[in-house]
């Protein structure tokens, strides 16, 4: 197969909030930057963030308070150093976004409109209606266009190129034409987002297939906290095509009420003080309990009511939620929503320092693909926020790093092997269509690595993922067409999701306690001796795990 080679000082993989922020920073500081996105520019998953973004903008909230509840909310295994930097720098990043065009909602005197999510005694969420992420994306894309940042969208990076534990570039294919391309880079910023698609029910965009976790593992990078996968309590439960779609926490924070099919306000059974505004892991478990004990609706869901709000409040605060339900024939100003938890966020990810540095020289990570900031449970509004701080920092650090670096050519053998791996999916005459593997993977993860876990189900999942990895070797596309071959993209993404799933399961098996999003029925208590992080990496193609101390300074 022929391929072109492009040289760029800094390659940014992923064009969501963190990737765009990194590219903007590096470009502003004079670097030669190239931005890659798997989807059309502007359509990344960041845009699906609804309710808001946390920053200490309005008193009495302070960065110290923001840091405190982020660590409490994360059950004390967050990287404290990252949290402190995140919360200290966040207000300045809000002003950056406004320079890029975003206008966060204001109150009459021009101050930011803020609302309080779980644990927020002092409100931290700033927002733009209930489409905060979309407006952030618009601002970041506008800024990227203003700066004339070079980019290719609808491009799939399939492998990071590493030589002697230093990054030297990446390889991938154009989704439009199926042609291969190599990027030689002095530094690479990984900002590929999460892995929601490996679960049957998810709030995530189709592109969130764990590409970054899988490629980082293969490159020799360390991942941290991978057992911590967040289930958002309120995903749409019905109709099937909307299953999992996000209903923002802003609904509950503004007085939305949860009831079971008998009309009982069931949160009083579990968290009588916090009620609907208990933490995400807590509300998700409560809903799970209600439904599994037979008090759910016929669609295995519970009700979320806002029909006691004035209609103007609904249209001002949650216009998109109103539309989402209107589109499926439900008028939420009159009827309740049916909701059920939906896989939402990977708290874990590539282990980074405060500059986004990984253990691979020249490889930086930012956004959801990076781990450590959120600990065992992420507060709503902290994800789109954190990507802005660490995207910028990764951009700055990459610039500093490339000064003493020269381009290196990859070994032909490594390129040849990757081409061979991709072509194998196209060339086989017999085999399994990719969606069969994907459907099985989603079921395995949803049924066995979900809201509640135990050794038996985790071991079952481990076995099933291992079998699926074997089966995946026989994956083949159903058409050999080069242009827009979705099956080929699926094959590559499924391989990445399987590797990510394996990392999640290994860490989940090891953590024999319950903490945050990781609820073990067989180890129901949170244990002091487990105030630790689990690191996952690959050695000689095998997953190995290590238990390390939490970074508290």
């Amino acid at each position: 197969m022929n391929y072109k080679t492009i040289k760029t000082e800094i390659l940014v993989i992923g064009a969501g909030g963190a990737g765009l922020r990194a590219a903007v920073e590096a470009k502003k500081r004079g670097a030669d930057v190239y931005l890659i996105g798997k989807e059309v520019l502007g359509c990344a998953h960041t845009g699906m963030a609804m309710g808001g973004m946390n920053a200490a903008m309005v008193k009495p909230a302070t960065p110290a308070f923001h840091a405190q509840i982020t660590i409490e909310g994360g059950y004390f295994i967050n990287n404290y150093k990252l949290v402190k930097i995140f919360t200290d720098e966040m207000p300045a990043r809000v002003f950056d976004l406004e320079k890029y065009g975003v206008i966060f909602d204001r109150v009459d005197n021009g101050e930011f409109y803020t609302w309080a999510g779980p644990k927020q005694k002092y409100p931290l969420n700033i927002c733009v209606g209930d489409y905060t992420g979309r407006e952030m994306m618009q601002g970041l894309v506008d800024e990227a266009r203003k700066l004339k940042i070079k980019y290719t969208d609808e491009f799939f990076i399939s492998k990071l190129l590493v030589s002697d534990r230093s990054i030297i570039g990446a390889i991938g294919i154009h989704l439009k034409t199926g042609t291969l391309q190599i990027f030689l880079a002095k530094a690479v910023i990984l900002a590929t987002g999460g892995a929601g698609r490996m679960y049957e029910v998810t709030t995530n965009a189709a592109s969130n297939t764990g590409d970054g976790y899988a490629m980082a593992l293969d490159a020799g990078a360390e991942l941290v906290d991978m057992e911590m996968t967040q289930f958002h309590p309120t995903g749409m439960a019905y109709p099937p095509s909307s299953r999992g779609v996000l209903v923002t926490e802003k609904v509950r924070a503004h007085g939305g009420i949860l009831r079971n099919k008998n009309g009982e306000r069931f949160m009083k059974r579990y968290y009588p003080k916090e009620m609907e505004l208990a933490k995400r892991d807590e509300v998700s478990r409560s809903i799970y309990q209600e439904v599994s004990e037979g008090r759910g609706t016929k669609h295995s869901a519970v009700y979320l009511y806002v029909n006691h709000w004035p209609k103007e409040k609904i249209l001002e605060q949650i216009p998109d939620v109103y539309e989402q339900y209107k589109n499926v024939g439900v008028d939420i100003s009159k009827e309740p929503m049916e909701i059920y938890p939906s896989m939402h966020h990977v708290m874990g990810g590539v282990k980074i320092d405060e500059w986004g540095k990984t253990n691979i020289e020249g490889l930086f990570a930012a956004g959801e693909v990076a781990g450590g900031i959120h600990g065992a449970n992420r507060l709503g509004g902290n994800s789109v926020a954190e990507g802005q701080v660490f995207g910028r920092r990764a951009g700055m650090a990459a610039i500093k790093y490339i000064k003493s670096i020269r381009y290196q050519n990859p070994q032909r053998k490594i390129i040849g092997e990757e081409i061979q791996r991709i072509n194998a999916f196209l060339q086989k005459n017999k085999g399994i269509p990719p969606h069969e593997i994907e459907d099985a993977l989603k079921k395995t993860m949803w049924n066995n690595v979900g809201i509640f876990r135990d050794e038996k189900r985790l071991l079952k999942a481990k076995k099933e993922i291992k079998a699926l990895m074997e089966k995946a070797k026989k994956m083949r596309v159903r058409t050999r067409i080069r242009e827009r071959n979705r099956d080929l993209q699926d094959c590559l993404e499924i391989a990445n999701m399987l590797k990510t799933a394996e990392a999640v399961i290994e860490a989940a098996l090891l953590r024999k306690e319950s903490r945050g999003a990781h609820s073990r029925v067989d180890y129901p208590k949170m244990l002091d001796e487990w105030t630790k992080n689990i690191v996952v990496k690959k050695e000689n193609s095998k997953i190995v795990t290590n238990i390390v101390s939490v970074i508290t300074k």
Binding site: V40, C43, K99, D105, R106, K176, A206
Partner: protein, 220 residues
Amino acid sequence: MKNTFLVYRYNSAKKAKPVFESFSVPYIKGMTVLDVIQYVYKHLDPTLAFRYECRQGICGTCGVMLNDKPVLSCSTQIDPKNKINTIGPLANFPVEKDLIVDLKPVLKRYLEVKPYLDKIHNVIVTKKTANESKPFRKCIECGCCIAGVVEKDKKIIDHLDPMALVKIARYVTDPRDGIKRKQFAKKAGIKSYSVEIGKQLSEVCPRGIPIETAVKLLNE
């Protein structure tokens, strides 16, 4: 119950003419256009090309023509009473493959209107000034408005397409922006937009952007 869908097929990399291909898809209550497209791809024809990402009506990548009307395929349900539906790529765009359109010409025009905040000379001081641009800030660049321009008005697209028009209105109503955008809109041909065209395009917009207000504003 099965419904018939006529789906547009074309590959710009090959020289063949476009055709509508018929697919029979079992109806499920609440089914969206995207569900139909995914069913065809998964069970009937793996070569079908289409875009989608979020299923939430917010990423703006899944626009198609359903029975000649531009819609976001993820947030538009099929009417089971229509036994035959047509699904095609967004009108007024060159087609790349099947339901995927080539965005290059639109983006080229878009860049000409400087689609970014520039020459900042002011700050947001009140809710009122913050909210003036809010309706236009809802644009997700899905292109449905462009696809909704009817045959007789088509010439307006080459001068100033409605997506670019909304972007100009977005920055004209932003007190921070320092570019003389109204002058640009005049030069680009805002005069050829009537309020009627604006109204018709507002109805097409999946984000409910008042395009007629943008037209009025820029014609002032």
